[in-house]
């Protein structure tokens, strides 16, 4: 596999990550969201492996396997179980309407392209052009958390953001040191468990996972 092909595959996978990010932004069904999240993890893991191969950074293989195990298998499984236990299969609502959300998402892509252009010009890595996509993925994850009102979708948005950060690390500097990555992975797993526990509590308290309900916590004056 030569450099050109690798660069092509890298950008194709980056495009797929972006596509899944947009897919999550507009997907209304929770199961669909989880599937998209799984796909995103898969593309990310593949991309990490490809970058690891091209840059001969062997610790990236470990990151790749870790991503696969955590984001493609463990987290989706946990979320599935959660949804099954909490009996939420309905369509999720969005706060802002979907076309507007999409347009904002597109604007964010343009913005991240603009913001990363100084780095792109300085960097010599073959992954430099995907940095914009990575930043965009982070921003879209945040946008998703803003525009959704369901607690589970917010968590998925959060996880997608983390995907973006991981992707950014891979494309900007060929990944973080392995220790950091392991730590982050562990954090993610623990976070997922804590979220699960919180979901149950929120669910039993409010009988719903709609985060709008949280507004009721505020004391009336």
């Amino acid at each position: 596999m030569d450099m050109m092909t690798a660069a092509h595959i890298n950008s194709l996978l980056a495009a797929m990550v972006l596509l899944t990010a947009f897919g999550m932004l507009v997907q209304k069904r929770i199961y669909g969201l989880i599937h998209l999240f799984t796909w995103q993890g898969l593309f990310l893991s593949l991309n990490t492996a490809v970058v690891g191969y091209v840059a001969s950074q062997h610790h990236l293989y470990i990151s790749s396997v870790l991503t696969l195990a955590l984001k493609v298998i463990a987290l989706p499984y946990i979320l599935h179980v959660l949804i099954h236990r909490l009996k939420i299969h309905k369509e999720v609502e969005t706060v802002v309407n979907i076309p507007t959300t999409m347009l904002i998402g597109l604007a964010l892509v343009v913005l991240s392209y603009h913001l990363t252009s100084p780095i792109r010009e300085l960097s010599t890595l073959i992954t430099r052009s995907t940095l914009a996509i990575a930043l965009a993925t982070v921003m879209i994850g945040l946008l998703m958390m803003i525009t959704r009102r369901h607690a589970v979708t917010q968590i998925i948005g959060f996880l997608a953001m983390e995907n973006g950060l991981f992707f950014a690390a891979t494309s900007a500097t060929y990944g973080m040191p392995l220790v950091v990555e392991l730590g982050v992975a562990l954090d993610m797993l623990i976070a997922a468990f804590i979220f699960g526990i919180f979901f149950f509590h929120i669910h039993t308290t409010f009988d719903s996972l709609d985060v709008e309900q949280m507004a009721r916590l505020k004391e009336d004056e």
Binding site: H8, A15, L18, F22, M102, A132
Partner: protein, 314 residues
């Protein structure tokens, strides 16, 4: 040489006229198979056309000349577009007269007049069809142009023949921008040719029809022309898709001898495209009319992502 040009031009138009109903028949046939029904055969659209041409025309009392003129215009624009889109070869003498923007414009003028014809009689159905068709068209057109522009930017041309020539001579590479553009193009082509999930070409149920509502009052040869033209439109959208995204096999400039091969490729690609359409149509349900903007919005998003990734990644 000039005889050759004339020959391929005529050959293309004849192929378009002849194959468009067959392709429609093929789509219907595969659909029947997919749904476990017995099909009416590959040539049923021909029989339908022949029947319609033989019938007399019933014209509503207050139909104006627009109503009678529209079928001819719709047919004319489809034939002209077929003379320009490279279906089997890029050596078309008419191809410089219109690039892909003009071809979209040709479909637009056909739609403009069809919508007027729908309003001409003054029934509620006609108006409803026109209104919905124009709504869908106005959302589909920007997405269509964005998808096409992505291809044009990648190949530095808006002329379809030139795009085919460039893609075939520079060799294949998977570009994310083109993948996005192709996805968007498929979604929009479904909307523009009135297929499921946007419109259902087989329905005459009052509230769900769009294109059929506009042409509800047509009969006889007028209806035959419109039906034939819409078969050609489907055929042409597939051809445009092939030319812009997978042109391999189309005879390039000054390659007379590869015409038979081009023909073979054409048949193969259309067979595959027909199966693809059927898979989409049987896999999806027809949408409510106000879900269509979301569908087209997604197409627009894909097309725009294609254009963005052309600049970011390519």
């Amino acid at each position: 040489m000039s005889f050759y040009y004339l020959f391929v031009e005529l050959l293309q138009v004849v192929l378009l006229l002849a194959l468009a109903p067959v392709f429609l028949g093929w789509v219907r046939m595969v659909k029947c198979w997919a749904q476990g029904r017995t099909s009416a055969g590959l040539f049923q659209p021909y029989r339908d056309l022949a029947k319609l041409f033989a019938k007399e025309v019933l014209l509503a009392e207050n139909a104006s000349w627009i109503f009678r003129f529209t079928p001819y215009l719709v047919f004319g624009t489809a034939v002209l577009a077929g003379a320009i889109v490279p279906i089997i070869t890029v050596d078309l003498p008419l191809s410089p007269s219109a690039d892909v923007i003009v071809i979209i414009g040709l479909f637009a003028i056909a739609r403009f007049f069809t919508a007027l014809a729908g309003m001409d009689i003054g029934t509620a159905f006609g108006g409803m069809g026109s209104s919905r068709e124009m709504m869908i068209a106005s959302l589909a057109e920007p997405a269509m142009l964005m998808a096409i522009f992505t291809v044009s930017l990648a190949n530095k041309s808006t002329s379809l023949s030139q795009i085919v020539q460039v893609i075939c001579t520079t060799g294949a590479s998977i570009k994310p921008s083109l993948a996005f553009a192709l996805l968007a193009f498929v979604l929009i082509a479904l909307a523009e040719t009135g297929r499921v999930p946007v419109d259902n070409p087989a329905t005459h149920l009052e509230l769900t029809m769009i294109h059929e509502a506009m042409i509800l009052e047509y009969s006889g040869r007028h209806l035959a022309l419109i039906e034939w033209a819409s078969a050609m439109k489907l055929f042409l959208f597939v051809s445009i898709g092939i030319a812009a995204f997978a042109p391999w096999g189309i005879a390039l400039a000054n390659e007379m001898l590869s015409l038979p091969l081009a023909l073979l490729f054409l048949v193969l690609k259309f067979a595959v495209a027909g199966v693809g359409i059927v898979l989409i149509e049987t896999g999806l349900a027809k949408m409510r009319i106000f879900r269509v903007p979301e569908f087209l919005g997604a197409a627009f998003m894909l097309a725009t992502l294609g254009m963005l990734s052309f600049f970011i990644l390519d």
